[in-house]
Symmetry: D2
Subunit: 137 residues, 4 copies
Amino acid sequence: MIEHTCRIRVRYAESDQMQFAHHSNYIVWFEAARIELLRAIGVNYAQMEQGGYLLPVLEVCAQYLKPARFDDELHITARIAEKPRAKCRIGYEVKTDYQLICSGHSLHGFINAQGKAIRPPGAFVQAVEKYFTSSRD
Amino acid sequence: MIEHTCRIRVRYAESDQMQFAHHSNYIVWFEAARIELLRAIGVNYAQMEQGGYLLPVLEVCAQYLKPARFDDELHITARIAEKPRAKCRIGYEVKTDYQLICSGHSLHGFINAQGKAIRPPGAFVQAVEKYFTSSRD
Amino acid sequence: MIEHTCRIRVRYAESDQMQFAHHSNYIVWFEAARIELLRAIGVNYAQMEQGGYLLPVLEVCAQYLKPARFDDELHITARIAEKPRAKCRIGYEVKTDYQLICSGHSLHGFINAQGKAIRPPGAFVQAVEKYFTSSRD
Amino acid sequence: MIEHTCRIRVRYAESDQMQFAHHSNYIVWFEAARIELLRAIGVNYAQMEQGGYLLPVLEVCAQYLKPARFDDELHITARIAEKPRAKCRIGYEVKTDYQLICSGHSLHGFINAQGKAIRPPGAFVQAVEKYFTSSRD
């Protein structure tokens, strides 16, 4: 398993007239948390894209349990629970003061600049492999 | 069943460096399509909120089949397939030139300004009821 | 002078907890209005970019006179008052029900894909020239 | 003079198909930097709003000198150079690796929840006053 938590403060522009952080922003925060998770295991997503490997989102889901509000400091945990193969699934938990307010996941597949599905780059495979060494992985 | 289709042109600000419309925007477009569906059946969401009925998102999911790109004109269909009760589920399909590029759904529940779950307002119930008149609904 | 007005309805996601349309959205609406103005005079910005001509923003300003709110239908007028040369200045007026709520402008210069300042493409020059035919232009 | 610098990393969702951070995001970053400047001098903007004092934007301008790109870590300096009176002007500088890429300013005035212009709250006046003690202020 790979897990990483980052902090994001809710911006004013992210609030809505319901006085909540608008639900679409969680999708953006998931992405920010995902990129920080990759950085934490030595994968620089910006460089990976420059190398011709894109990792678009195939699916995203979020369950909203409690609202976040402007200026809340959120703890966003991204987690790869299963060894990525052709596709990579990442789970997310968003907490304020250690109360879970949102959970979700995203599903990804590597493509090249022409949009064709490709195998993950070697650097990515090596970076994630050491976290999934048990026989059942 | 209630169904309504609206058109949205992908804004430049909604593009990303992958040359795609960023996936978070679909969540915003779902919402725009949802509000137009409500308007089409005589429910003005802005007025409903002013009347103290909020309809926050409890869950949202999207599957991305093909990318949309800047300046594409999207046809976004919102659909209430089952009669709303305590919760209201809305499905979405996003098409460009009649090719499906994204599908998804959202789940909603009414709350009052204090955040307490409440029954839907009478005007909403009346507006949707006529679309679900068969005995099995 | 070249002038074009488009309509944009304020999205829920564009509202903020002050119950106003967040001021950053006007910058996005200016851009949408600018692209529609270009389309109206026969310039397809998406195709122009594919042809290697980018028109980044060098400067943007907005004065906010009155708030817009969720679900307001805005009339956004983009205007090129002076014949574009190396730089192109576009003015904007945002109205609700014919009341001016915001005015602004943006300044642009053409660059190529390598980021180098270049002359505008011939198709752009031809499209705008017919609107500035007097001797003093 | 009051000055405060915060760091913001450009999100993927903030990139556009020109491979730049879209220019509208700077307006959002200015706001984030403004709220951190206020926090640094002991003014919690969220609480100030709860107390009935809103500080909407009357004007915003930005000059874009060089592009920011996805994953760049930006240093955003907000600066109140003149003692705020009825209106408050804040200047901004955005840097990457100590190179200036954008400068701008915003202008604000206090209003109450009914939208009426009001004097700044005492806590705000006290917080800023100590930074402007010279006779010419």
